[in-house]
Point group: C2
Chain length 396, copies 2
Amino acid sequence: MESGGIRPPAPFRAAGVHCGIKPEALDLAVVWSESDLVAAGVYTQNRVVAAPVQWCRQRTPSDHVRAIVINSGNANACTGERGAADTETMARWTAEAIGAQPEQVLVMSTGIIGEFLPMAALEEGIPRAVAESRSDAAALEEAARAILTTDRVIKTAHREVTLGDRRVALTGIAKGAGMIGPRMATMLAVILTDAKLSLESAQRLLRAAVDRSFHCISVEGHTSTNDSVVLLASGDVEVCDSEEELILGDALTALSVDLAKQIPADGEGATHLVTIRVTGAPDEKAAFRVARTIADSPLVKTAMTGADPNWGRIVSAAGYAGVPLDPDRLKLRLCGVPVFEGGMPIEFDEVALRGVMRESFELPVELDLGMGKADCTFWTSDLTHEYITINAEYHT
Amino acid sequence: MESGGIRPPAPFRAAGVHCGIKPEALDLAVVWSESDLVAAGVYTQNRVVAAPVQWCRQRTPSDHVRAIVINSGNANACTGERGAADTETMARWTAEAIGAQPEQVLVMSTGIIGEFLPMAALEEGIPRAVAESRSDAAALEEAARAILTTDRVIKTAHREVTLGDRRVALTGIAKGAGMIGPRMATMLAVILTDAKLSLESAQRLLRAAVDRSFHCISVEGHTSTNDSVVLLASGDVEVCDSEEELILGDALTALSVDLAKQIPADGEGATHLVTIRVTGAPDEKAAFRVARTIADSPLVKTAMTGADPNWGRIVSAAGYAGVPLDPDRLKLRLCGVPVFEGGMPIEFDEVALRGVMRESFELPVELDLGMGKADCTFWTSDLTHEYITINAEYHT
């Protein structure tokens, strides 16, 4: 297994094991530290919230977290009081294995909604995962693999920044391929750093990073009950002033964008990653709404699938985003080629553009609203036969 | 050709011809009357609006309309000033053929966005369509066929109501199969009646009917640039008082629901019609938002395709509708079977429910929010391989 050699920052230990929630694949991950961690979290905006999300929301930000335990194959959502008790039990078993209190353990779950967790499997698996945990790249990769559901590939990212004479490491793992809507997705991410951050800084930096990354991706626009992004900071490396914090924040955003883009790129059945850049918006909210509406249109997505420069679908999607826009001021470029401006089509070499769309994996859509200075970049998948196959047959 | 014998109300003449916008199929319809008509209209809420929609918006409600001309194969959208001039020319040619003024002719277009209309074809076709127009059922059917794009079947509906000793007829034709989002769709409908209505009554009754019908359907949630519903009333039959108007309004709503449901039932690639009934909402807007969000979720749609009682996708879609709801108060029934209540799954015979879902064309989803008394019924298609094939290959 090749992980590109991404290791967790020094104080963290990780593991991914198979405990039996899924028939065969790895399905249980643990990441933990011998000493207290600062933890920040950003969670789904769905009103129907899975038990582990409720557990984590009540416990972040915090400065005494010790571990996070994550299972795949079962979301523990729509499971009522029994689901809440099961989440607490997962935290307790993890705490017992590492010598901590249940309140010091965060929990994530992803997978099928509306079924109860197989607790016997977890009771056996959790102490084994803790016992097997290590600080090497293979351990991080196993953890990254154990949180996947319909994903085809593991998702990891790494950044290092220099603050004065110090080096800070940022390492992230994520999962997500379907049920991915803006305002996050069935998307889990855990970002580890050895930086020393206050509760407030950790929460603020994570929120800013998520707003420009995990909030700006979709596969089919369905916001999950389980979305969670957690930042765990060990405090080994000092961050001395607000300028250094800014540098760290930029690195955290860049790492988050890196991880986030990997999700629609691995979107269920995806054959293209569509990058939608909206500029010239009156404000960021408007830019986001237009970008998201284009991203979520199945007509836009299927045009991308078919390498079809059917730009009318893009313009008409922008038109129903609920943002007051003037069609005569719009400028649209598709894979760098101007196709619509001043309310009229622009002639272009259609055969050439089709060829570019067919050959390229990443398809840029650039729409200038001509109204202001705000912008948004949003990433989505195309919509293919394979998506239908996966989702018409993925069982409850 | 079997039209179920639906004829236009007496004073109306209709025709559908092939003029050459499409390679072979009928592509031009005219409906007109020798005397002035009261006309009401409801149009797309897209900010990018096709030239014919701009034309009609400025001319309804009106009490001196004489005709409507409709082409398929080209939406005349995103075509700027030249598109506006082309719409006016279509109205002028129709007016010349029937002996009226251009201002008395409404225009609809549907089809590809961003290409200019082939005006030579229309110049030849419009007078021919008028010359061939008749009042029989076959003529109405040809008109209904000439407005189709990716539709598989024509869409017509008929109602008669008795007001005292008088009989009022309501006859509608519609098209739509893709680019169908709430707030209407690439959806055209023309409803004809011999009732006598004031401008205000016609507009009010149409708006009320549309709110409960054409506004409550989707195929993939993409709101078109061209959606239009027009009511044309000849005034041959008196409507004496507000009670009679109420009866007529109910019939108009019933006819509109009948026509509207035919659109997702014929949705591109659809194998199921999904009927989403949300009750117990605090207000109608909330009921609509929840119903629409469920309807537009590709995960819900693909579960229906696969006859999979994956109710977690329905509950989680409701949860991100932007309506404050309490998961513990939700009650969900799928094809009449209770599956979720009190925040917990309800055990059900999954094999039996799968069988019902596989065998039934219409799949009812009933969600009680447990918060109030408002409701909404919303109709949508499932999402199939055939939808992808149609939309990844339908050309610009």
